[in-house]
Symmetry: C2
Subunit: 358 residues, 2 copies
């Protein structure tokens, strides 16, 4: 463990702490697996929002990065010259965003997704007179019931629309699967790909994502590219699902016990403004490292409530570390993360793409 | 309604929009009630985090402001010369925060709370050699089971400790009540006050808070000061509790429909990174203005999912406004809010105290 107490004691709490050694190991582990099963890796940077972490992912073998919004992509590209290939997995609409997208396309290899003809129309209008066409993938709903065309025949219709739209090229198929949706991804994407190829439309990329099922992508041979996000840090939701252990969790929230009102209740200075109320399907709000007997049963903005069946054994002023339920949303709550590597404290890193929602 | 569509059409979404006319009316309504029942108002700025809104509250009659963390208080005091009296309702611990607290005490009339002797010890050590003593109130648990001494006898012991500690003066009693806890606040505080006065310890302030029960403070005659937060904007949780109507909600999230995958499902570009997953006890994630038939049933970071029993009647590109479940946490998610007043767009206001957690 490269996070040492002598450094932790000096930080004001709550502090989001990042273990870079564990981060590097997490990145290497999935890259090794992906190389073995022949899938390229395009990490989703929403989890870290940090250009230097993207650089580690690219150096390990990632072919590019995934962003969710145009402003997020801008922050990442601004932050690192190593980022030269970006996929934005979002339906982009509106004059302001399309203009920013066009500007970004002049700086990096850019691709986006669409699940409807209105979005394709806006993209085409923007890119029709640009020197380089924009690659647009069709987003497919393989069971998550969020965005995405609902059938393979709709995928074909939209792919045709893209292929014939001025300024655009059809880039392939994209999905964000439902939990446990590996088989459904394979069935949908294989059928859609066959239909498209039968029409003479090549499908250069079939991209899927999600850290919970990342080590199952070998079971979906149609998938050519994977977009894991959470894997870079891991969190309680992934430990609960058996994807990793606590020792693989690179990010934790350092927090101080500010009150011990009863023998089995303690209050910490990390609330929903750091840990967030996003439980990602788990019960409670994070895992207190070294204290599996404690439940964080309630959060208000600046208070976390810890309870235990027996005596809680904490004193006012004690410092503990909490692994969040869902790590991606925690990164978005803070201006800086405190970074540790090889037993040294590297200092605070500014979360470059925090709060980028447009 | 002072938010006009011609301005809304020009904003990139998601955008947090603030109606200043409704805000002023909300502030005036509670101040009028408080004046009538003889309670002073010390608004909790966590809801807006904006010095200019605090100035409106002070101009309307508030005696000072409440903050939850030292860094939050610093941002507010930095942002307005009109803010001269600050109560921080938090157990403050740690050398860095105590030093910052001492610096702040040189700039404004400052008071804090404590619920244990360790916190009192740190405050005393910091203020023992300062020109002006620090006022410290005893935080009491009147049923919320978060922080606070659990009995009136403990309150007396801690008040004595404060009164005899170098550099400190006993400032009174503070509580954040449980929902529906008005009667319990009165019972606890009246008993504690009587015990303290019997010992010759004056109780200059008894302060309570919480917007849900704000119009019941007249039923707790022992309370001298009230700290409402959410009342300044209101939200879906307060509409659900019957405290206000939709027309009293000053803050809404402007968002664009980016996908309509089925006849009864639509996806908006506001997810948990703006609306947050904090439901504050309500079902669903916000209220779509003018469309009570729609439920926001799921949020991921950048997507909100809207469902309806019948046809949803929305098209890609449509813009709607969503009143969040819990407005305080939404303010913390964005760098700016877009402000409207009297039919005019005032522009973006920087959320000065956003992300101040230490």
């Amino acid at each position: 463990m490269s996070i040492l107490n002598r450094y932790l004691d000096a930080l004001s709490t709550p502090a989001v702490c990042l273990d870079l050694d564990v981060t590097r190991a997490n990145i290497a582990r999935f890259q090794l697996y992906a190389d073995k099963v022949g899938v390229t890796v395009r990490p989703h940077i929403k989890t870290h929002k940090l250009p230097p972490i993207a650089e580690i992912q690219l150096a390990a073998g990632a072919i590019g990065i995934t962003c969710q919004k145009v402003s997020e992509a801008e922050a990442m590209v601004d932050g690192s010259a190593a980022i030269t290939d970006v996929l934005i997995t979002y339906n982009i609409l509106g004059a302001d965003k399309l203009a920013r997208l066009a500007a970004l396309a002049g700086r990096v290899t850019l691709s986006v997704v669409a699940d409807n003809a209105v979005v394709v129309g806006g993209l085409s209008e923007t890119f029709a007179n640009r020197p380089k066409p924009l690659s647009v993938l069709v987003e497919c709903n393989t069971g998550a019931d969020r965005c995405g065309v609902g059938s393979t025949s709709e995928a074909v219709v939209l792919a045709r629309t893209i292929a014939s739209a001025p300024g655009l090229v059809f880039g392939g198929l994209m999905t964000y699967p439902a939990p446990g949706g590996t088989a459904r991804v394979q069935a949908f994407m294989a059928e859609a790909k066959a239909l498209l190829e039968a029409e003479g439309l090549a499908v250069p990329v079939v991209t899927s994502g999600g850290s919970p099922s990342m080590f199952e992508v070998g079971l979906s041979p149609v998938v050519t590219e994977y977009r894991p996000g959470t894997y870079v840090y891991n969190d309680r939701s992934l430990v609960d699902r058996g994807v990793c252990g606590w020792e693989d969790c690179a990010l934790s929230v350092l927090t101080t016990v500010v009150s011990v009102p009863t023998s089995n209740r303690a209050i910490i200075d990390a609330g929903s403004k750091v840990l967030t109320t996003d439980t990602f399907g788990t019960v409670g709000h994070g895992h207190v490292l070294g204290r599996p007997d404690i439940t964080v049963d309630q959060l208000s903005e600046e208070h976390g409530r810890l309870v235990s069946d027996g005596p809680i054994g904490l004193s006012v002023g004690d410092r503990i570390r909490v692994v969040p339920d869902h790590v991606c949303v925690v990164t978005n709550m803070v201006d800086v993360v405190q970074v540790f590597e090889g037993g040294a404290f590297l200092g605070p890193w500014s979360v470059a793409a925090r709060g980028r929602v447009v």
